[in-house]
């Protein structure tokens, strides 16, 4: 059996272990992120939500997923 290589990324400040070369779309889907209600940053750069299935994640990538909450 081929050994699946795992890498560590950080998403919203939390370390997460994922399969190497996972694409961003899959990672967000597994977390059940409602894409129409969030914005996404990869290593401090805003990502076009339409292109997330083309982005392969690398070791130590930092992802931020934000949404609107109550505020004044």
């Amino acid at each position: 059996m081929k050994k699946v290589k795992k890498i560590k990324i950080k998403i919203n400040g939390k370390i997460k272990s994922i399969t190497q070369d996972s694409n961003l779309s899959l990672v967000l889907k597994n977390l059940k992120i409602p894409l129409n209600k969030v914005a996404i940053e990869l290593n401090e750069e805003i990502i076009d939500k339409k292109k997330i299935n083309k982005i392969k994640l690398k070791k130590n990538d930092k992802i931020e997923v934000v949404h609107f909450i109550g505020g004044g």
């Binding site: 998403i11 919203n12 400040g13 939390k14 977390l31 059940k32 992120i33 409602p34 129409n36 209600k37 969030v38 914005a39 996404i40 940053e41 401090e44 805003i46 939500k49 931020e64 997923v65 934000v66 949404h67 609107f68 909450i69 109550g70 505020g71 004044g72």
Partner: protein, 260 residues
Amino acid sequence: MVNLKKDNLIIANKKFNSRLIVGTGKYKSMSECAKAIKLSGAEIVTVAVRRVNISDKNKPLLMDYIDPKKITYLPNTAGCFNSKEALRTLRLAREIGGWKLVKLEVLGDKKNLFPDMIETLKSTEVLAKEGFKVMVYCNDDPLMAKRLENSGADAIMPLAAPIGSGLGIQNKINIQIIRKQTKLPLIIDAGLGQASDATIAMELGCDGVLVNTAIAKAKKPFEMALAFKNAVIAGRQCFKSGRIDKILMGNPSSPSKGII
């Protein structure tokens, strides 16, 4: 007759019937927040941009309670202490779903929460160039207000008093000077404590008020939301009706002719 129905608040070419903007923070629950907004009649609400809670996927979302198609979301930069953080936050807010109308708020001090006007000014220039419609939280300083206007702000939002303080308008003279010098929407943001504070702001000629804590933290938020709604209407109506001149001595209301 002062027809308030046609007396719209216009911000960045968008018309609103209500002159009361409310914040969505500090409520006990999202349903309480949604009900208070409904009662207040507000058509614009401020919202904050924060991380999605990835460990609790069932946490309720603001958008499930307040429909952004019906109520205009005004993303803010609360909690940002420099231009870089504020710009990052608003660029993300725009990305969530095309929000261009935003509230810029760059704070300078963690205790008094006064705005850092140098960082605020810098951010206003950048945001305006990037096509944002920027409503700017600022100090009640007429010179700074002018500079914000010249930098492309779409609304000037001076504080009444420190955020969340409930102290009401502390510097009416400055607010009046700002009113005289600008045709931009002038909205009192922060520091209001009771309904009459909102009325005073409107009587001074402000175009609107932004209230969060005074409603959210009132013992009865729903009733307070209604009180602020009425207070804003009363103040606006008063302003449009032209108040009497102030005089030092008494002037009887009943005619002196025909006294028995």
